[in-house]
């Protein structure tokens, strides 16, 4: 069995030799380079824009503004079109950094130089700079047909139950705006041949984004070919088509040449979304024995003046604990900032900070162990639908992680543990993420040299999908993983589920599994019907895949290799089709992924910088497809959220609302020197209720609950409750 094995990723060799080709490494003859000029103000309009000097600068081919741009054919639907307003359509400015001109030149350097020569006359209006400034204007957005979650959810009468509860916690929690900050800046290369558009785009899904480009330019979808084989990290910012994706084909039309747009590092911060800041209130009511009676979770996030994008912080809350009376609401409010976008893990990471912090406060008030409090409120079935879970090993996660961590050594008294000048704190928190599945297609070709080829449009973003899906096909056909190759990242291939929303394993993986089974079936049918095969006349159900060929289940000696079978029949390839269709709403089971985190922090009494010295997490995600890539991915997700807990903050300027730290030197992400030991446990249980493969997603659940776990440990260490992220030293002085 290849599945479950800890094998190295299949594309690692290319990645360590520099041979791997990312979007910006694709070379097409005659490519011109575009640079995007961003607005210097955050609200107002462009009164005038003088491009004459720029147009005369060396190498410049065109300067495109709202005054001379070609029209878009239509506005493609949000949310996968990141902004509801198409770029350059008018003179309005809604946020700092919004693109107001595209400068195209022979080289990128020339375009950059020319962009400095564009003179803009702005008409300023007064911006709404921050979430706080806009809080009183919060509203529930009108239903967006594509939104997955309702803006409001109610069961029972939460207000009455809260008033009647003997113990209550009512607090406000805040999360900062965050940047995905992937190391690869987004890049798009586009060229037209008549009405055919070829586009290389650093996207998390060629099949989700191709239709958007087709609609924007008014060409049939099959005239657009979108490629993306490798993405240099995305974490959600490449799950949308941001304005540059539309500006590259536009510029290519104007200059009649291939055009590349690679956004600058600064524009990664302003032009590809962020996780919006939130203000949340959580109100909990409980019995003396810790049973939750009421839960109210209210969230407001900043959005832009052009979109109503929700950071769905309280969306998961109704599903997590067995609370009879509950109310959850998600509102937005408009700020002169760019539109937010889904960032690992949308909604749930921010929401878990509030909910799991409040639970810790409740445990403290009750004098109860926080882990025990969660055990007492465990949701045995989905509290929203009443359906059983497809699989849930959360209690086992609690047990195993607590034991590994040494939770029983914790003295509940805050400030009780010390080591010299260090205060030591132990904290814990839970996490949950609704499991999403999408239709996915793949084919698997068995070839007459005894190898197999997977074809599916999946993009490899770093999560290891190429490897785990190769293992799946290898297992299905009885081949070593090395005998499987993967054609991917091309919209001409069968449509994979997008590489976001943790859907690669469950959805695309299931399609590959079905395709491999179909190819196997075709090979078996061929063999049993072939007089010259040793398997001729056998019952197809008795034939199994084994070591590069087929054999009888009970008589291992009788069989032949795929190679021999196909060559004898003069067949080059036998194709298997895989079409995975999730069950959807009427499924018998509710599906989610679960996790728990335990954190040890150390805080120097005199310089209260929080150091996470130890973190243990356990996850319930069904079957683990590749222990090595899974562990890597989980550790990465945990560290990303440790950044959100301790340092990351896209701070807005209080006057203009512009992000004041759009550089990696100012926007601190965790580096090598910041990190302690991180231990990850998977409590496995093949979940065939969820899909044929038995696997649920990992990429997102791994990043839910960490901030609360840290904040709870900080409280344990110091007695100080920090309710706003990040937990910087100034908040502990």
């Amino acid at each position: 069995m290849a599945i479950g094995k800890a094998i190295s990723r299949v594309e690692a060799g290319d990645k360590v030799t520099g041979a791997a080709r990312y979007t910006e490494d694709v070379r097409v003859a005659e490519t011109a380079h575009a640079v995007l000029l961003g607005s210097a103000i955050s609200a107002g309009r462009v009164r005038g824009i003088d491009t004459r000097r720029a147009e005369r600068a060396p190498g410049v081919l065109a300067v495109i503004t709202h005054l001379n741009r070609p029209d878009f054919a239509a506005v493609p639907p949000t949310p996968y079109t990141a902004e509801g307003r198409m770029p350059l359509v008018d003179d309005r400015i809604h946020y700092a950094g919004q693109y107001i001109a595209v400068v195209v030149a022979e080289t990128r350097e020339q375009a950059e130089h020319a962009a400095t020569l564009v003179v803009v006359d702005y008409h300023r209006t007064s911006p709404v700079p921050t979430l706080d400034a806009a809080l009183s204007q919060a509203y529930i957005p009108r239903e967006n047909g594509l939104a997955r979650v309702p803006s409001e959810y109610r069961r029972g009468n939460a207000e009455a139950a809260l008033a009647a509860a003997p113990v209550r916690v009512e607090e406000e929690y805040r999360t900062a705006a965050l940047s995905h900050a992937p190391i690869e800046p987004s890049s798009t290369l586009a060229y037209w041949e008549g009405d055919r558009l070829t586009i290389y785009d650093s996207t998390q899904s060629v099949h989700m984004h191709r239709p958007l480009v087709a609609i924007a330019f008014g060409v049939p979808e099959d005239r657009v070919r979108m490629y993306c084989s490798l993405v240099g990290g995305g974490f959600g910012n490449k799950s949308y088509s941001w304005p540059h994706v539309f500006l590259a084909p536009m510029a290519a039309r104007v200059v009649r040449r291939p055009v590349r747009v690679t956004i600058s590092r600064k524009q990664v911060f302003t032009g590809t979304g962020h996780m919006a800041a939130t203000v949340q209130t959580v109100r909990l009511g409980a019995d003396q024995d810790g049973r939750l009676r009421a839960l109210i979770h209210d969230s407001v996030n900043q959005t832009s003046f052009i979109d109503d994008r929700q950071e769905t912080a309280s969306a998961i809350t109704p599903y997590v604990y067995a609370v009879p009376d509950l109310y959850a609401r998600i509102r937005v409010t408009k700020v002169n900032t760019g539109t937010g976008g889904a960032m690992r893990t949308p909604g749930d990471s921010a929401g878990a900070f509030a909910l799991e912090s409040a639970l810790d406060e409740l445990a403290h008030r009750l004098g109860m162990d926080p882990l025990e409090l969660r055990r007492r409120n465990h949701a045995d079935v989905d509290p929203v639908s009443g359906r059983p879970w497809s699989g849930k090993q959360l209690l086992a996660c609690y047990d195993q992680a607590a034991e590994r961590f040494g939770w029983d050594r914790r003295n509940p008294e805050p400030g009780s543990a010390r080591d010299g000048d260090d205060l030591i704190g132990y904290g814990m928190a839970g996490g949950q993420r609704t499991e999403h599945q999408r239709p996915a297609q793949a084919t698997v070709d068995l070839t007459d040299d005894g190898t197999a080829v997977i074809r599916s449009s999946m993009v490899e973003i770093g999560g290891g999908g190429l490897t785990t899906l190769s293992q799946i096909a290898a297992d299905g056909l009885g081949l070593p993983t090395a005998a499987v190759t993967f054609q991917h990242g091309d919209s001409a291939l069968p449509a994979a589920a997008p590489t976001f929303g943790s859907m690669t394993s469950g959805s695309t993986g299931s399609a590959v599994k079905l395709a491999a089974a179909d190819a196997l079936r075709a090979a078996i049918d061929l063999a049993v019907g072939d007089r010259r095969s040793p398997l001729h006349g056998a019952d197809p159900d008795d034939v199994v895949a084994h070591e590069g060929g087929l054999r009888l289940r009970d008589r291992p000696g009788d069989g032949e290799s795929y190679r021999a079978l196909l060559r004898r029949n003069r067949i080059n390839t036998l194709r298997g089709d895989g079409d995975f269709q999730p069950e959807g709403e009427d499924a018998e089971h509710a599906m989610a992924t679960f996790g728990v985190h335990f954190t040890e922090v150390r805080i120097n009494r005199y310089l209260p910088r929080v150091r996470v010295v130890r973190h243990v997490a356990a996850f319930s995600i069904g079957r683990v497809l590749n222990a090595k890539t899974a562990r890597n991915q989980a550790q990465g997700g945990i560290i990303m959220r440790l950044g959100a807990a301790l340092m990351e903050n896209q701070r807005p300027d209080p006057v203009s609302g512009r992000f004041i730290s759009p550089a990696l030197t100012d926007y601190h992400v965790p580096v090598n020197a910041d990190i302690g030991e991180i231990d990850v446990i998977f409590v496995e249980e093949p979940d065939t209720n969820a899909n044929p493969l038995g696997a649920r997603g990992l990429g997102e659940i791994c990043a839910v609950g960490i901030c609360a776990s840290v904040a709870n440990a900080v409280h344990h260490a110091t007695g100080k409750r920090v309710r706003s992220l990040p937990i910087t030293p100034d908040k502990l002085l």
């Binding site: 190295s8 990723r9 594309e11 690692a12 060799g13 990645k15 360590v16 030799t17 520099g18 041979a19 791997a20 080709r21 990312y22 910006e24 490494d25 070379r27 080289t107 990128r108 350097e109 020339q110 130089h113 900050a181 992937p182 190391i183 690869e184 800046p185 490798l230 993405v231 240099g232 990290g233 974490f235 690679t262 600058s264 590092r265 973003i461 770093g462 999560g463 290891g464 090595k628 890539t629 562990r631 890597n632 991915q633 550790q635 990465g636 945990i638 560290i639 990303m640 550089a663 990696l664 030197t665 992400v669 965790p670 580096v671 090598n672 020197a673 990190i675 030991e677 991180i678």
Partner: protein, 157 residues
């Protein structure tokens, strides 16, 4: 201007280089070596790290002209033909590669560390790699890889 330099052991002459170009730009766009990555162009991330006369530098901060007559070694020049350098092999084996965009720069930096300090301590590794950002792995596996490569190299000596 014309630029003459040696890259990965091969003499290279490139023409029409504009004064304002960086060494990174020349490597990626003119010398056919896109392995070194352009991720910030301002010295913040380390993805573009290459050897310049044996010293690791951020190629995005080196003006092309500064490479005149000098020796550059990039990620493409670490392996010995088909045989990966121990640091490359260790990154593969330890699972230190996820999206891979930070990898080329990290490899050069880590390669240099082990050359200088054959058995680096953990703080030495963290210190040496602190200028190289990785957003995927969380570094744990990168540390493992450096330790592994150092061990293997020492064992082979």
């Amino acid at each position: 201007m014309r630029l003459n330099f040696t890259v990965n052991g091969r003499a290279e002459t490139v023409d029409d280089v504009w004064e304002g170009e960086s060494l990174l730009y020349v490597l990626r766009e003119r010398a056919g070596l896109p392995g070194s990555k352009n991720a910030c162009e301002q010295g913040e991330c380390g993805s573009c790290t290459v050897y310049l006369d044996g010293v690791p530098v951020c190629a995005c901060l080196v003006a092309a002209g500064q490479a005149e007559g000098r020796e550059v070694r990039t990620v493409e020049g670490l392996a010995d033909g088909d045989r990966l350098d121990p640091i490359q092999q260790a990154f593969v084996d330890a699972g230190a590669v996820q999206c891979g965009f930070c990898t080329p720069g990290l490899l050069v930096q880590a390669h240099d560390l082990i050359e200088r300090v054959p058995r680096p301590s953990d703080p030495e590794i963290r210190e040496a790699l602190a200028g190289n950002l990785c957003r995927c792995t969380g570094y744990e596996k990168i540390l493992d890889a450096v330790r592994l490569a150092a061990e293997r190299k020492a064992g082979a000596r």
